[in-house]
């Protein structure tokens, strides 16, 4: 048994794909039509055969309640590892990304939290 997938809940798959590729820099891996929605995944260009991130549409209403509760509390839905949070923060600021937490040290880690425009806070982590 292996871990090959993780997911983020998104309110719009097209908007999510644009943000996660054009802004964050991931690349599309798989796209399969499944009726109203798609099986849609992206991967890091640094690990193209690594874990796939599913851009998961919220067809189940309670998922929206959960997403909104996390978002309003500033809690990240997930986190991505970067080699330099400050550098990534400046790059993304220049692209118009909003941050609820600027680069902040927490012991050995530096964190920042951004808005993915699809209903989520996403954490960037440097260790």
């Amino acid at each position: 048994m292996t871990i090959k997938l993780t997911s983020v809940l998104v309110d719009n798959q097209d908007k999510a794909l644009a943000f996660y590729t054009n802004v964050l820099g991931f690349v599309k891996k798989t796209e399969v039509p499944l009726g109203e929605h798609r099986w849609l995944t992206v991967v890091s260009p640094e690990e193209r055969d690594g874990v796939e991130l599913v851009l998961e549409p919220m067809g189940f209403a309670p998922a929206k309640v959960y997403q909104q509760a996390l978002y309003e509390a500033g809690i990240p839905l997930t986190a991505f590892h970067v080699s330099d949070v400050q550098q990534e923060y400046e790059r993304l600021l220049a692209l118009g990304v909003q941050f609820s937490l600027k680069p902040t040290k927490m012991g050995p880690a530096t964190l920042a939290v951004l808005d993915d425009t699809c209903g989520n806070n996403i954490q960037l982590v440097q260790v």
Binding site: D49, A73, I75, S100, K105, P108, V113
Partner: protein
């Protein structure tokens, strides 16, 4: 300030109250990251943090969840994995990242990655053919 931001600051203050100590251990981690391919020892790693060896091991483990020696092994294995995936022979990769013995390198590689160095290299070369 969001609820999460408040919690991050609370945890940082409670768990990592000594900023100077954190900075010194982070500095020693960077030393490992940049010199892993050389023959470095605990004395040098602890020296970078200006700590006694025993205190250094305790603080490093509390911050990174593993001992400095274990971290050094992991960094070396990660380096070896990249070299093997580029096609470098196993023995050459082993010595390139600072291991002194192919036997112990192979055992550690398998333990950490789940596959032998030979398998890692072979899979990467096979994928390149497609």
């Amino acid at each position: 300030m969001t609820f999460y931001h408040t919690r991050v600051l609370e945890i940082a203050k409670a768990v990592y109250p000594n900023d100077d100590l954190c900075r010194r251990v982070i500095r020693s981690k960077h030393f490992i990251d940049h010199h892993f391919a050389h023959s470095i020892n605990l004395h040098q790693m602890a020296g970078n943090a200006f700590l006694s060896k025993y205190h250094y091991i305790r603080v490093f483990k509390s911050m990174y969840g593993r001992t400095p020696h274990r971290y050094l092994i992991e960094v070396r294995i990660a380096g070896a994995k990249k070299l093997l995936q580029s096609g470098m022979p196993v023995t050459q990769a082993c010595f390139s990242v600072g291991f002194g013995s192919v036997t112990s390198f192979t055992a550690l590689f398998k333990k950490i990655t789940g596959v032998t160095p030979q398998t890692c290299r072979r899979k990467a070369l096979q994928e390149k053919q497609f």
